[in-house]
Symmetry: C2
Subunit: 220 residues, 2 copies
């Protein structure tokens, strides 16, 4: 499609749906652009995904949710920075990255089964394996949350990997500084009821930390 | 101003310019929203900053650069994810983050002194200390690059820190998983002229790695 065809640097385009899947899987944030009184606004957000639907949630009072729920046009970017590419000239400096940009129109998710599945997908995306351990959602909580869907069908993926593209005679180090998103040691919430003792870290949280660190230090 | 007043969760708003400075300093990417044929588009980009001007650069053939250079309205988000906030219910899960959203109109930077300073600011932002070591920019490179400025004056900063806001009786671990952006071991570009030998990592690159890791593991 015209909107998703890359005019610049078509060699950086990817048509591989595995790239899209990987970007969506590894990214914890997306950036959502919409129009507010005709002007562009971009806001960071968490998200979930089921098949070809991207799900966002928020308060029914938020501008962003209202605009997207109305069926307005929206664009969503999901970007992973993988490395700083250091060349001999400023001009040849670059970034290694994987980036997905989606174009579509929003849809309010009102069907209670889809809404619940969408909310589940957001929790599952952020902290895989945690949802079965949580106090179940109440109807009141679900009603107080707005969920919108954006189809992933119209999208473009761009990525860059590898060393600087050009080498010149100049006495400066060139190469790539890999950039990783990693998890630190979990910090337990202090609660009155546990009297300050620190129970061992549950397997589920340790697994999330391990998985984040493994996933995000494998690419460069 | 109306556009930058936070309607939702005003308690998360920050009017501290130090917060804005810190977000701009620590983030390597921004997300730029603009209109293309009346539809919102969001694209990730590197950036530089001098005082109250945010600078973007790109090819004169890029849609984004053309639209912004024309003086069209634009919004830029700069977001740092600091942690996953794990509560007892899905509803109370959250993120710790620092986020800046800028609203303004673009301006093409044509003055050669400002243009050069803007390009310098982008390199200085990504790899501090490296610019003096590089082969200097040529006029041809500068002419082949488009630079646009967006004023930082109209902006909003939102941030969340700390543990989950609410504690309920439920047998699940609650707390925060800190998220950090870190640099890995630099990977040297292989060049014909060094015959495969690996010179020691120069101080400047080692310093960038150290600085990235220090900066980004201090917050949670």
């Amino acid at each position: 499609m015209e909107r998703t065809r890359l005019r610049r640097h078509p060699e950086l385009a990817s048509c591989d749906t595995e790239d899209m899947d990987e970007i969506l899987q590894e990214s914890l944030l997306c950036h959502v652009a919409f129009l507010d009184d005709g002007l562009p606004v971009v806001i960071p957000s968490t998200f979930g995904r089921i098949d070809d639907q991207l799900y966002l949630h928020g308060s029914p009072l938020s501008r962003m949710m209202g605009v997207i729920a109305s069926g307005a046009p929206v664009s969503v970017a999901v970007s992973l920075l993988d490395g700083l590419v250091l060349a001999t000239s400023a001009f040849d400096h670059s970034m290694n990255y994987r980036s997905l940009v989606v174009f579509g129109t929003g849809r309010s998710v009102t069907d209670s089964k889809e809404k619940r599945a969408a909310l589940d997908s957001i929790v599952d995306h952020l902290v895989p394996g945690r949802r079965p351990l949580l106090r179940p959602m109440t109807d009141k909580e679900i009603n107080a949350t707005m969920v919108v869907a954006i189809p992933l069908t119209e999208h473009s993926v761009k990525l860059r990997t590898g060393p600087p593209g050009r080498s010149e005679e100049w006495p400066v180090w060139t190469g790539v500084i890999p950039i990783h998103t990693v998890a630190g040691d979990p910090i337990q919430a202090v609660s009155d009821r546990d009297g300050g003792s620190t129970p061992p870290l549950p397997d589920q949280v340790a697994e999330v930390v391990r998985s984040l660190n493994e996933e995000n230090t494998s690419a460069s």
